[in-house]
């Protein structure tokens, strides 16, 4: 080993670190309380939005019949957000993992995804990574921060294409604002929401996302990115700007 590295290692042995805390009892006490403290219902359910993942625009329109009037459209690559006056209800799910796909490592997600996987530097390394095979083509990679039972942020990416569309339905009172991230278009949506998607067999599944968060959807090159967390628009834009 070169001299500098040896000197650094030697220096490491003489550093004045703060005293190491004894965490065992405190951790175990908290661990015993943890299951009871887990929230079963999201904090905010005032606004419900629905996202539908569908192959082809025609299929998307055939998906759950809300019979609700479409009031407005917002378009991004691979995503169409429509404002409707009524949304369907779906059962409450216990975790995120079921619809995010297979739990994988970041390295495996990079190998399997049909696009370059990006990471929001501001959020650091994800605590859990999931990969779902197509649809959409190229798959979808999701990062969970926290745990899937108690997530505090969800970051999803896929290669958005014009012929494959995720439909997101939002209620008439959902706040939606156009934003720009790194010169590319996006939308900021405020409110908790429902999520529905097309599974590997092509069946429509609906689940309630447990995050009581707001959503930022934006384009980056050929990718469409989505960040969901209980954070402000400014904070979401700051995290979006850190994607590299």
């Amino acid at each position: 080993m070169p001299e500098l590295e040896l000197a650094l290692r030697d220096l490491g042995t003489s550093l004045d670190w703060p005293a190491e805390p004894d965490l065992e009892q405190r951790v175990l006490r908290r661990a015993r309380e943890a299951p009871a403290r887990r929230r079963l219902v999201p904090r905010r359910m005032l606004v419900i939005a629905l996202a539908v993942l569908a192959v082809g625009v025609g299929a998307a329109f055939a998906v759950p019949q809300t019979r609700a009037a479409i009031l407005e459209f917002f378009h991004l690559r691979g995503v169409t957000i429509e404002r409707v006056d009524e949304l369907p209800t779906v059962p409450v799910q216990s975790g995120l993992g079921t619809f995010l796909g297979d739990p994988v490592t970041l390295g495996q997600a990079r190998e399997r995804a049909g696009f370059d996987v990006v990471v929001p530097e501001a959020l650091g390394t994800p605590d859990e990574v999931y990969f779902q095979d197509s649809p959409p083509a190229g798959g979808m990679v999701s990062f969970v921060y926290g745990t899937s039972d108690d997530p505090h942020a969800l970051f999803t990416q896929f290669a958005g294409r014009v012929d494959e569309v995720i439909f997101k339905k939002i209620a008439s009172d959902t706040k939606i604002e156009p934003v720009t991230v790194d010169g590319q278009p996006g939308y900021w949506l405020e409110g908790a929401h429902f999520f529905s998607y097309l599974d590997r067999q092509g069946d429509v599944q609906s689940e309630q996302v447990r995050l009581a968060g707001n959503v930022l959807l934006w384009e980056r090159g050929t990718r469409t990115l989505r960040l969901e967390a209980d954070i402000s628009r400014a904070e979401a834009l700051r995290i979006a700007a850190s994607v590299g």
Partner: protein
């Protein structure tokens, strides 16, 4: 009753089944390295302690997702480091940690000659001052690899970088450190 110490993988398996004592042993084994890693990132001992505690609690509830046979240390370091970053962000500060050397002579060792100690100490202080002057990214990767002696994989997990990034940033950081120390010092 005396038995051989349990292997890490056995402790993890038992903890996964809900064995609190086994998880307690894991906490004991890794709280030191977890706390120091969090301290480097968060920049304060109070935040580091909080991050380490919260990380171990979160890891306990996420244990069922931990892959059997995988090393536990990078996993827990990743969770704790993430907590540390969250706290630093919440506090709205950049990590501006200044490391210090221990002033006292190490106990239990034969005291070296006063001259030797003085030279050693001076060299260490100079090197540490140069490390402290590096930009955060450089300081973090050097501290993880040499002061905490984390592996490349563990450093990548703790800092949220790819392994390749750890390699390239480390070599760049060492280059900058050499420049700061003067070319002749550590050629």
């Amino acid at each position: 009753m005396e038995g051989r110490p349990l292997q890490e993988s056995e402790l993890v398996e038992r903890a996964k089944q809900g064995d609190e004592a086994a998880y307690g042993d894991l906490v004991q084994a890794y709280q030191g390295i977890a706390f120091r890693t969090a301290y480097l990132i968060a920049g304060s001992a109070a935040d580091a302690e909080d991050a380490a505690q919260e990380g171990f609690v979160k890891a306990w509830s996420a244990l069922h997702r931990f892959r059997t046979g995988a090393p536990f240390r990078p996993w827990i370091l990743q969770i704790v480091a993430n907590e540390a970053r969250n706290r630093r962000r919440a506090a709205g500060r950049r990590a501006h940690l200044t490391l210090r050397t221990v002033a006292a002579t190490p106990s239990g060792e034969a005291a070296p000659s006063p001259e030797a100690t003085a030279i050693d100490t001076e060299q260490r202080e100079q090197l540490l001052a140069a490390v402290n002057e590096l930009r955060e990214e450089d300081r973090l990767v050097i501290a993880c690899r040499y002061f905490l002696e984390l592996s490349e994989e563990e450093t990548a997990a703790a800092l949220g970088w790819r392994r390749g990034t750890v390699k390239s940033r480390l070599s760049r950081a060492l280059g900058r450190l050499r420049e700061q120390m003067g070319e002749e010092a550590y050629a």
